[in-house]
Subunit: 370 residues, 2 copies
């Protein structure tokens, strides 16, 4: 099995590297004080360090269920399975559906594509072009697929968002063909203007909605979840148990203590959105100034810009910028075209954003077209 | 897939239940103060909450490697892969070896047997009888198996320990047939008298040695590891990455801070051994007094007693003791005989040990033989 290009690259960088590569949140925005208190509180009870239930601790499942219910998507703790990040959520669902077929966006999240391969799932692709999901293609592949996998909000890698009207159409397609939806939503709370209803909320009995605290709290804690009907969720618990018994329950407990005061999480999310939006706007400004031939669609949230170098091979550019201490991910790694590129804008400082683009521009404009 | 009987039962108990069922450490012995400090220290650096490398954080891998090297089993950080508990370690190895065949002890750890089934691995069994591993059978099945899985120290469920001479013989058998060893050693540091060299130390290039902090520090943290040659370990990293990106790295960091002062861990281990040994001896005394027909072998470490009810069906007894608030696991769940039983003695208080045995005795001596 192929390792992730991004994660391999990350292992070869140092603290001076300007990285537009990984989907990393800004660690300067982690709510350190609140998390310190949450961990200290959790560690007052030795039971927080004992073995725990496979589906996750009840108080956290209840709070997550309540997120959904508040948005009009009725959910109880029984509809939630806590996983070791949403990466594991995807693995559990894929493993249970081993040998089946799945319709996926092209390009899409590499970690998902790897899991479909590992679990012997046949992939049928529908394209995203210039930020738009091709529904005609989606319908065609949904007909011949058991499952659909997509990231509707600020997609990885394209940053594309599926508008509400298309979400309703996708829900209808799923119902028409009896296709199960896997809706991967790690970025959904990182909108710059407004949230959009999930597709799963239209087809509550035939969807898996995947959430994660990695992008909105702290990736190191590896806590994500699956929201699904009890019927779909029940058989997955045995898989979860076989795979790692249960998710780190001290971290679950600490997240519970953090979330218990709702204003605390809301304030934190506001801060993330404001900061990432400012970085996105600054990145736009710098791109337009220094990289005018880079064609992109402005993201409405999330962590990524996606575009193309107008015919120039992105891997060739990366080889050269790597030597100058700047990295990003060529779109080809996600199933995109050779001249396409994904830039992460959330992890770098404003200074790094400007400097990184400047270095890429220097390399690009000294490189001939293919 | 079948769920673990033990974990299902655990979900149906309350705080008053006397549980001899799970392999639970005593939470009163968790080093709470030291772990509080270790987590506080880790949370001083926001990098502890960021995404991390798939194989585990380097400082922790170095300390674990050093455990081995100090015992004369030369190991570097490159030989260590940190996993989400040793349950995941077993899953990674099994998944990579999907479709192959494995020789296992009978009875054996249910979580391992489940994983072999999930990963489509053919199981060939060799027996443990009255605390003794049948080497004749082992040799016969090793001949026709790609791998051997065993727990050499204070085995789960039998409590049996493989003596040093047999360990050397097993290493020879592995070499003779080119069989890869998976040595699962979560209890190895919980000896009551003295440690015994691992089998892996005799065949360093063709073995996986699995360790865990669950039994000797805190299960909730879900941190375990695989020790193997670089050649055997390298392909597993891609699997680890696909499965959950990396293990909770805040917990890795905290464990590193805890272990950094070696006297701290050594003192903690001494305390665990002394306490568990005292409980084991008390349990023996109570068994001999109240359950004289229970045939067992005294364990030399670990967490379990294993024995038989002399022909009486253990599941029938459990059904009745469950109503009276006492639980244990029938040996048949691990592939043992219908009258066999596993008792965990580490999780209960001395009072609970006595009371639990008394209740089981009352039920047993009111129940006819089959």
């Amino acid at each position: 099995m192929k390792r992730s290009f991004i994660r391999e690259i990350l292992e070869h960088t140092n603290s001076d590297t300007i990285s537009f590569a990984g989907g990393l949140p800004d660690e300067n925005l982690f709510p350190m004080q609140e998390l310190k208190e949450a961990f200290a509180k959790s560690l007052e009870d030795s039971n927080s360090l004992q073995y725990s239930t496979s589906s996750g601790i009840l108080p956290l499942k209840k709070i997550i269920a309540n997120f959904y219910t508040k948005e009009g998507f009725f959910t109880t703790a029984d509809n939630i399975l806590i996983t070791s990040g949403s990466q594991q959520a995807l693995d559990i669902i894929s493993r249970f559906n081993s040998g089946k077929s799945i319709a996926t966006q092209k390009p899409s999240y590499l970690g998902a594509l790897n899991l479909f391969e590992l679990n012997n799932i046949k992939v049928n692709k529908f394209s995203i072009q210039k930020g738009k999901t091709n529904l005609y293609e989606l319908k065609r592949v949904a007909m011949i697929s058991d499952l659909i996998y997509l990231i509707p909000d600020f997609q990885n890698p394209t940053g594309a968002t599926i508008p509400i009207k298309q979400r309703e159409e996708i829900a209808q397609i799923c119902q028409e063909y009896g296709t199960i939806l896997i809706e991967d939503a790690p970025y959904s709370k990182l909108y710059f203007k407004e949230p959009i209803n999930s597709i799963s909320s239209f087809i509550q009995e035939s969807s898996f909605h995947l959430g994660s605290f990695s992008k909105v709290l702290a990736p190191a804690l590896r806590v994500g979840w699956i929201r699904a009907s009890k019927e779909l969720l029940e058989p997955l618990i045995a898989y979860k148990e076989a795979m790692d018994l249960h998710t780190n329950s001290l971290s679950q407990q600490a997240i519970y203590h953090f979330l218990k005061k709702p204003e605390c999480f809301d304030k934190h999310l506001e801060k993330l959105r404001a900061n990432y939006k400012a970085k996105m706007q600054y990145f736009c400004k710098m791109l337009d100034k220094d990289l005018p031939t880079f064609n992109y669609i402005k993201p409405k949230g999330g962590m990524f810009f996606y575009g193309d170098f107008g015919g120039v091979d992105a891997k060739e550019i990366l080889k050269q910028t790597l030597k100058k201490g700047v990295i990003f991910v060529p779109g080809i790694e996600f199933g995109g075209k050779a001249d396409e590129v994904r830039f992460n804008f959330t992890h770098s400082t404003f200074e790094e954003l400007a400097k990184g683009i400047e270095i890429i521009a220097k390399v690009l404009y000294n490189t001939k077209k293919r």
